[in-house]
Symmetry: C5
Subunit: 369 residues, 5 copies
Amino acid sequence: MSTSRKRRRALQSRKIPGAAPGTLVVDPNAPVSKVELLAYGPHQQVDLKDLPVSQISEYLTKFPVTWVNVEGLGDLTVLQELGRLFHLHPLALEDVVNLHQRAKVEVYGDQLFIVTHMVTLKEQDGRCHLESEQLSMFLGPGFVLSFQQGLEGDVLNPVRERVRRDNSHIRVCGPDHLAYAMLDAVIDHYFPVVERYGERLEDLEDAILGRPAQSMIAEIHQAKRELLLLRRNLWPQREAVNALIRDPIPLITDETRVYLRDCHDHAMRLMDLVETCREVCSDLMDLYLSSVSNRMNEIMKVLTVMSTLFIPLTFVVGIYGMNFDTSAPLNMPELKWRYGYPACLLVMVLISIGQLLFFWRRGWIFGRR
Amino acid sequence: MSTSRKRRRALQSRKIPGAAPGTLVVDPNAPVSKVELLAYGPHQQVDLKDLPVSQISEYLTKFPVTWVNVEGLGDLTVLQELGRLFHLHPLALEDVVNLHQRAKVEVYGDQLFIVTHMVTLKEQDGRCHLESEQLSMFLGPGFVLSFQQGLEGDVLNPVRERVRRDNSHIRVCGPDHLAYAMLDAVIDHYFPVVERYGERLEDLEDAILGRPAQSMIAEIHQAKRELLLLRRNLWPQREAVNALIRDPIPLITDETRVYLRDCHDHAMRLMDLVETCREVCSDLMDLYLSSVSNRMNEIMKVLTVMSTLFIPLTFVVGIYGMNFDTSAPLNMPELKWRYGYPACLLVMVLISIGQLLFFWRRGWIFGRR
Amino acid sequence: MSTSRKRRRALQSRKIPGAAPGTLVVDPNAPVSKVELLAYGPHQQVDLKDLPVSQISEYLTKFPVTWVNVEGLGDLTVLQELGRLFHLHPLALEDVVNLHQRAKVEVYGDQLFIVTHMVTLKEQDGRCHLESEQLSMFLGPGFVLSFQQGLEGDVLNPVRERVRRDNSHIRVCGPDHLAYAMLDAVIDHYFPVVERYGERLEDLEDAILGRPAQSMIAEIHQAKRELLLLRRNLWPQREAVNALIRDPIPLITDETRVYLRDCHDHAMRLMDLVETCREVCSDLMDLYLSSVSNRMNEIMKVLTVMSTLFIPLTFVVGIYGMNFDTSAPLNMPELKWRYGYPACLLVMVLISIGQLLFFWRRGWIFGRR
Amino acid sequence: MSTSRKRRRALQSRKIPGAAPGTLVVDPNAPVSKVELLAYGPHQQVDLKDLPVSQISEYLTKFPVTWVNVEGLGDLTVLQELGRLFHLHPLALEDVVNLHQRAKVEVYGDQLFIVTHMVTLKEQDGRCHLESEQLSMFLGPGFVLSFQQGLEGDVLNPVRERVRRDNSHIRVCGPDHLAYAMLDAVIDHYFPVVERYGERLEDLEDAILGRPAQSMIAEIHQAKRELLLLRRNLWPQREAVNALIRDPIPLITDETRVYLRDCHDHAMRLMDLVETCREVCSDLMDLYLSSVSNRMNEIMKVLTVMSTLFIPLTFVVGIYGMNFDTSAPLNMPELKWRYGYPACLLVMVLISIGQLLFFWRRGWIFGRR
Amino acid sequence: MSTSRKRRRALQSRKIPGAAPGTLVVDPNAPVSKVELLAYGPHQQVDLKDLPVSQISEYLTKFPVTWVNVEGLGDLTVLQELGRLFHLHPLALEDVVNLHQRAKVEVYGDQLFIVTHMVTLKEQDGRCHLESEQLSMFLGPGFVLSFQQGLEGDVLNPVRERVRRDNSHIRVCGPDHLAYAMLDAVIDHYFPVVERYGERLEDLEDAILGRPAQSMIAEIHQAKRELLLLRRNLWPQREAVNALIRDPIPLITDETRVYLRDCHDHAMRLMDLVETCREVCSDLMDLYLSSVSNRMNEIMKVLTVMSTLFIPLTFVVGIYGMNFDTSAPLNMPELKWRYGYPACLLVMVLISIGQLLFFWRRGWIFGRR
């Protein structure tokens, strides 16, 4: 029930149909917004947490690159202040709040609006499910403004580390390289997730070959559906990166384009891995079905062997259980023979041997099953 | 029968094959046409119902934007008068009346003709079916003329509300923004419908895992077919919106294009949701089939266990029911033994235990089923 | 056999492989060619039947539009005379005679050569099959020359009616509009055919849900194959219309292009309908298979219930049919008990009740099947 | 085994991986090369067989068109001499010898290199299999040089006939028309092959509906695989013809392009036919499976009817075979009744009638099966 | 287990998500790097093994073409020195070390970076599995620098041989021809691998037709998955070659482009072969399933024939085992008849013959199975 409710929630969008575009409707259960600022140039860097929006503007002019990261989308005023400060387009800001957007790159004047999804695999009680968190970025001249849903787990920490390190390449590059680094971190985090699926499917294969159970079908289907979700997440992400490489956007330098090409390659490789996993899912389905039909066959064989072995014998013993009046000479004279009973037993043994030979030649018994 | 008749009707077009193009054939059962006018500018707005066509022209010149909405397509004269007043192309007007058009955008001189479909999910006696209503729009300089079939339920009310509100953004925009707002309302109304399908499929999954019944196949198929219909509705709608964004149509301002991009995004997301639901349908089909074959397996196991357990025993008791003359020493001496009967029972118990062990080792009994 | 022979004939082309291109080989069984002329301008029109080819040329100069229609392709000389009169390209003329061409539009100098297919559904002995007839058209300056196979049934009569009516729009248009009107009539005649398939599939669904029979598989397959044929007919037709709209052909005026767009729309809608029908076919196949496996399940349940119910009972009665010497005290003392028989019956009734409970709990009896 | 060996051979390429490109490795088992020359102009023609390569050059200058045809690829020196005489590119010449190339058109300087495949259907012992032979052509100014593998059967004879006939159209055209005529002959020879498949599938359908046998699966699969091969042969052929039509190759005149369009049409039609046959294959597979499951159902019904009919009866007769001491008043008093036996028989008849009614109502007996 | 572990390893990438791009992380288990140099011009060539990186530069200027091949990627310093010497882009160098890249062609300044995969089929204990090794190449003015993983088996030896041979074509060409020769060798080495799969599938087909076993499903799936892997390897390889042909890269001469076209053709043919093998896999799956269901059918037939044959007979003998008091005239008078027993046997024989006739007419016995 809990998983089904989660899925249901994932399907529902919060926006009221027909509402004016650009309306900001904040989810009352969303975590409180925390603003974090990382401003840096080749030689210095500043790292501030929980600072009010009003203080951001001074860093924007002082540093070559300013990265403002907002975790948690529960604070309408913070979002609106940031919108005014950075001149964000209302439609883009709406997309930040209204989750479940497709990954995309959009140009609004001199700003780029990028939506991606970070995924993590939560394992709980031996079962794992996929969690997806939207990361929205605005890339403008001299700044990157990013919004996270604020769930636990953060894929951007390695990027922060690289910014803080004094002689790292990222410090001498512009905000476009920072945006690339974030995108790259997001996409690279898909690798362990996809690899985990590969392992799960291997375990499932072993289990099916061992003893197939109905529950495995459900597991295969869950894996298939989550891989589909991954594919749906990755595809537009790949397209977005491609748009950044290909489209003549002045914010993106040629050097960054070379790096983005690398990022695009990783997305392609991920797609390949996901597709392979999905093929494996289909194969497992086939394997399960053939395994089940194999067991059915085996059951039928046992039934058939036992039934057909004893049916003629039971008929024979039935004959000699008849009560015909044996005083008439033709009425079952066998009953009065001296060796009647042993002869009867012998006949039955011969019938059995004949049948066993028949079964053995067909490979139903004593052969490989 | 009623649903099949409905489907049949949905397949039939009213046009006579080979009739001259542009011939208006009005459905005699269509509701009477009601004309409604909403004219507005930044500072004033007029809202009139059931006004005659002849009075429309005066508002067209007085207000920056005039929205004429016709509900019900049963009135040939109203349609013809509007055709003359707005210089509508006869082929476009024919498409307004002749329902079941694909969603499309067509340029006729300085006018745009847009066809979309609104969907609603009618629930009746616990079963729900999809209803689709065609909305045709003409967008020209200073006006939007829209035609609805006039069924109950109206997705355009939120748009009307926004026009009536004094300080809303829509009041300062041109007719292209009004057309966008209508398109957006239509597309956004697909979300609750698709989400309802998601929920239905979840319920169906629970039911199949519980106790599969033949009727579920029909339900899955109905859902699949209606999702196909939704996809068929959405795909050209997405294409139409894309044409509006991409094609150099002077009626559409660049600002509206940005909004239409948002609309296009929603259509893409809907397509994704519908595709996911369709995948779920296929999975449910698999689940049903594997569930049925599982039950078959179970039935076979019970039959096999019972049959093979008792068949040898019945043979044994048959033997001692034979009437061989026991005066001959080799003819069934067991019958005269003191412990003949208990020994016989013991043999049968041993046979049973042997068989039960065999079944248990194969996992047919006392194991997980 | 007759249908298979028909199909076989439909697959065979009359042309000898390697023969020179442009060779006219007339089918000896084809109906005799009948030439019909309809020449018209805005104010007058002439309608002539069975006129010799030599008289055609005078009308070509006198009237703005001359429509020469040839029914039946059995007359080599008529075809050759027409070829000389209208300067038809030998390859095009070969395609007129050599049936089973794909629908196409080809430019030969200042002429357009258009091939389409008209379909009709022949119903015979409760079974219906699809018949397709090739319609080839040459559109040149001031004339349309069309060739029909000359089977019964004619989709072009409504076009003739429109030409004969004095104030119809077609009279003031050029030959391109006439060609459009013919194309439109051909495409519109697909609608009743496709709708008939929709109805047949509905009937089939009812029948399958009632009592599935092997013959239904064949019916589904026939419908599927004919729908495939329809799709194969429609797809190039749609492409041909699209080529007429898109390519810069001077013969086609811009006004006619607007009308052709409508025609293209109809073709698209037909494709949608056909695709929907094909999906329904696949669903019916699934339904049939699940219905059959359901019945199998039911049969197995009855067998299992009956067998397992009586097998233990038969064993019990077998025991008391054994002939052990009851003079030994341990040899079946039950036989001599006063209430031995009633006790035995009671035991059997209890066994039965136990089993029935087991079956009932599994939902095999007295539950919904 | 023989067919599998053939298939294996078909898969193997003779080239050593990593060998220098342009290396000519001649198959030692290939037939000896025979050179044949057909030189012609509008008014004269020369037809020579088995002439040495050194004599070819004189005809090249004397006649407008010279067609050199080489049958059998076993002669390395002949191939090398021709390569030098016609300045063939070593890669192209390698492709002539190294069979199993995809059909293609390649430009080498002022020459065109065209690879196609001729197919024939060999029937042997009632079973037929597809044979494919590579035809490579070089089209240059004033000559066509063609290479055949030299198996029996030749599709080019009709072309030779047309060249030899004095007033045929081909005599007044250039070498491009000759190349077209050869391509056209090759493609037209696919028609009888594909039609033969259509007939085989029809026969198979009749056989499956009659009495399905396991061997039919193998036949369907063979047909499917060969149709796939045909499709794989046809697809690049169609593409090659399309390249000839579309690409601006000076060797091909506009008139020949019109003829090639016809050739392209035929290829498209063949693809349609092959696709239809492949669909029929899938349908036959379904038909076979449903037919088998139908028979299974029938078998189960017979088993169930017989078993459940006699099981209760056998139980009843078992009861009266028990040996209870009838001196006790409650122990089977029926045995002593005057009408005990007839009553017992009556009960059994009633039980049987009840069961038969039950079966009949379910449609298991006396109904349509 | 071992294969599953291998697959798992193959899925895992060594890079830490979020690490700075261009970070070189060397696999500690990778073989030690061995540098090999082959410098050549039309008239001389030098062949050196295990030379230090510092000595390479002198050959670069002395010879028209220098080929530096590095086997084994375990030496960080060697890689970094080469990176500095040849001015390799850090992202490209990272891709050399970080295996499992897709095949690709990338332009970095005046260098081309090409990634391909060599495959070999390792046979072990009668089972074979696919091994893939990455080959990365840098093509710059006057040099080719290639990196191999350094597993056993080398597809490049034929290329080395051709370079060493004095009058080979490769010696007079530039480094682009060398790169082509390497690509060609890599692609040509796929042929024996794919052919080996074709043979395996044939053997499997014979085995399935003989006696289907559950293990064959797993074998089919393994083959299918490895063919998918081959396809995934080949597809980007084909695309990379295509990019080299099509893109205006000054390093590639027109002559080399002609040779690359040949290479592209081979890749296409390989794709065709792989696709054919994959189709065969699907067919084998069908064959297996139909074969299994056929055996099931056979088992059911035996069970049904035996059961229904003896069930009525057993009933008959049961009747005459009843103990009705035969002193009453209607109670089983047959028992006292003189020919009671023979008559009873006759009845049973007649019943059996009737049933056998029934079975024979249905084709269950004595017919083709």
